[in-house]
């Protein structure tokens, strides 16, 4: 839990940065992301997509970021024209539109969050735990928001 708390602070900063970026790769693979378990239909979902351990550890910029209205219990979106290869996704639900994943006095997250592969851990998962392979003919990734 304590590592999760530490992680949430970094995730907030990360997504604030990447929400300004757009996907810019030149290949053809499409990544379809379905986010289940959006608890309330207010605010935005903030996603960031990385393609390396360094990106997961916040040492290099993410490949893409996306901000989408949390207006349904399930949200689907597509990252287009990605290079086939390994990726990982993290997402949080900015319910109150303040641009960050809110946490309480001791750093416990109080808004929704999730990761690709839905690792069953109470900490930030590792790159290996969240990594998936995007094939050239595309991929669907389902994330359960917790």
């Amino acid at each position: 839990m304590h590592r999760l708390i530490h992680f949430t602070r970094r995730l907030s900063r990360l997504v604030a940065v990447v929400s300004l970026l757009s996907a810019a790769a030149a290949s053809a693979a499409d990544l379809t992301v379905r986010i289940d378990g959006v608890r309330n239909q207010v605010g935005q979902l903030m996603l960031s997509l990385v393609d390396s351990s360094a990106g997961w550890e916040n040492q290099v910029k993410p490949v893409a970021g996306r901000q989408v209205a949390a207006d349904a219990k399930t949200i689907e979106l597509v990252f287009s024209d990605l290079v086939a290869g390994d990726y990982a996704l993290m997402v949080f639900h900015d319910e109150n539109d303040n641009g960050k994943l809110d946490s309480n006095l001791i750093g416990m997250p109080v808004e929704g969050y999730g990761f690709s592969n839905n690792p069953q851990v109470m900490r930030k998962p590792t790159w290996d735990e969240s990594r998936f392979t995007l094939a050239e003919d595309g991929q669907v990734v389902v994330i359960d928001l917790r």
């Binding site: 839990m1 304590h2 309480n104 006095l105 109470m122």
Partner: protein
């Protein structure tokens, strides 16, 4: 407390990771509903640990045996773990069941009972899934669903309080849940201030003479360090919330206070294998207790004392005289039993024991900084309560369920009033097959003298298959109940109540 330092403690502390996952699975430790049902058929007193199968009961107006005293009017709210089984899986730790809040409403010479499960996110999610899927306090649950934070696992199952007419269901590992005081519908978790969302608000708040309410939150259960000290005004508005640094990652379930001080008794604990908090927690009996004496006007500062280890859930009163504080606590000698009270009963086994302990006094000398325990000779009690009007410089009379004479169930079968300093006890024995629960002291309206009041407590009559309630004169406990009323069925035992006069 310095926030950065706090975060560092948080990151480095080998603390009580209540929500930490276990990498290795133990053999299944859960209870077996069929085994419990067999035990219950042979030993009807095990109904105290059965599961409810309905989310609400009543309202049911009950016949009164005897006569309700003039002026006795209001509602006894009670809470306790009630939903123990799903999909062939039974919790093995008493503290795991989902909370059910009861209202026993007295007025106009009648009493009506109703009860309702607290609709926590945990309960609703598991009801939809048809199985338990959430990290529990003391049972290893398979195939856990991920949770956002501790409030996703909150069972709201331990006690209740009323602040400014608002009813709250409490458990120590998360937010208070507000309920409708009439219908007992769940309104939702309470956020006292935005940055305090989901932080623990213990099941044992204490009311000050000005009507304000003090409480603590055990942040170390969440993987942090320290104690959160809450102060809620009589108007139900947060006055303050402060983090008190603690020298060890101790455990405590309740606290005590005097007119000037809050008293937090930290039990040293370590953590072994397992998934749930109580599976992993080990009392460190070779280490001393650490006792914080905190002046109410400076909640971030403490004078720390050490005293011999004791396993404690509940305190009686505390008083302060000439630079000395005395607080009363119920000590449990059997540490395994203390870690999982009535565990055998949860399994449907009749060889359960415990639930009760010895009353001891902890003496704290504020000048010398020394502390020591003194035995009182009072034994086999739990859930001690007292008249909150008692002066702050003398010992209160204590009211507690106890064990007396022949008894079929390994639980309480009597209630008593204890004048500890005079060595006097007045006791009423309900019977060998009756299980007696906490008895709440209710001051008589218009009477100023301390201890003029009634006791109201719930009972499980296992011989006749009924759950009921009794009202006694607190000054004449040995006369027995003035009035009793019975439901035509049994309900599982609960823990703590609060009487709200009308």
């Amino acid at each position: 407390m310095n926030r950065r330092r706090f975060l560092r403690n948080l990151l480095s502390g080998a603390t009580a990771l209540a929500l930490a996952p276990a990498m290795l699975r133990n053999p299944a430790l859960a209870g077996d509903p069929a085994q419990f049902a067999r035990g219950l058929a042979e030993h009807p007193w095990l109904a105290g640990w059965k599961s409810v199968g309905a989310e609400s009961f009543g309202p049911t107006t009950l016949a009164i045996e005897g006569r309700l005293p003039e002026g006795f009017s209001g509602t006894l709210y009670r809470n306790g773990p009630a939903w123990m089984e799903r999909d062939g899986f039974r919790y093995e730790h008493w503290f795991d069941g989902d909370g059910m809040v009861h209202g026993w409403r007295f007025g106009d010479g009648t009493v009506a009972h109703r009860a309702r499960i607290v609709a926590t996110p945990k309960f609703l999610r598991e009801r939809a899934a048809g199985r338990f899927n959430t990290l529990a306090a003391g049972t290893e649950v398979p195939n856990l669903e991920p949770i956002r934070n501790n409030d996703d696992a909150n069972t709201a199952n331990t006690s209740v309080t009323v602040i400014n007419g608002r009813l709250f269901a409490l458990s120590e590992a998360g937010s208070a849940f507000e309920l409708d005081p009439d219908e007992l519908d769940t309104l939702g978790p309470i956020t006292w201030r935005d940055d305090l969302k989901a932080l623990p608000f213990s099941a044992h708040p204490l009311r000050d003479r000005d009507g304000s309410v003090w409480n603590f939150g055990l942040v170390s259960m969440m993987g942090g360090a320290g104690l959160l000290v809450w102060h809620i005004g009589a108007d139900g508005v947060l006055r303050s919330a402060d983090l008190l640094d603690t020298p060890i990652p101790g455990y405590l379930h309740a606290f005590a206070m005097t007119d000037r001080h809050l008293l937090f008794v930290l039990m040293p604990v370590g953590f072994g294998d397992g998934r749930s908090f109580f599976e992993r927690m080990r009392f460190q009996a070779e280490q001393p207790l650490r006792i914080a004496v905190v002046a109410k006007d400076t909640p971030t500062e403490a004078q720390w004392f050490e005293a011999d280890f004791a396993a404690i859930y509940h305190f009686g009163d505390a008083y302060e005289r000439r630079g000395r504080i005395v607080l009363r606590a119920v000590q449990h000698a059997d540490l395994e039993e203390a870690r999982s009270p009535m565990r055998a009963a949860m399994h449907g086994q009749p060889d359960a024991h415990g639930g009760h302990g010895r009353l001891a006094e902890l003496h704290l000398d504020l000048r010398s900084g020394r502390a020591h325990w003194q035995d009182t000779g009072v034994e086999r009690i739990e859930f001690p309560l007292f008249d909150p009007r008692t002066a702050g410089n003398r010992a209160a009379r204590l009211y507690a369920p106890t064990v007396s004479g022949e008894h079929e169930a390994p639980y309480f079968n009597a209630v008593a009033a204890y004048d500890v300093d005079r060595g006097r006890r007045r006791l009423h024995r309900y019977g060998s097959q009756v299980l007696a629960e906490e008895h709440v002291f209710v001051p008589k309206p218009g009477r100023a003298r301390v201890d003029q009041g009634w006791l109201v407590g719930t009972l499980l009559d296992s011989a006749r298959g009924r759950t009921g309630i009794a009202v006694l004169d607190a000054e004449r406990v040995d006369d027995g109940p003035l009035a009793t009323a019975w439901l035509p069925y049994t309900l599982p035992l609960g823990f703590h109540g609060h009487f709200q006069p009308t």
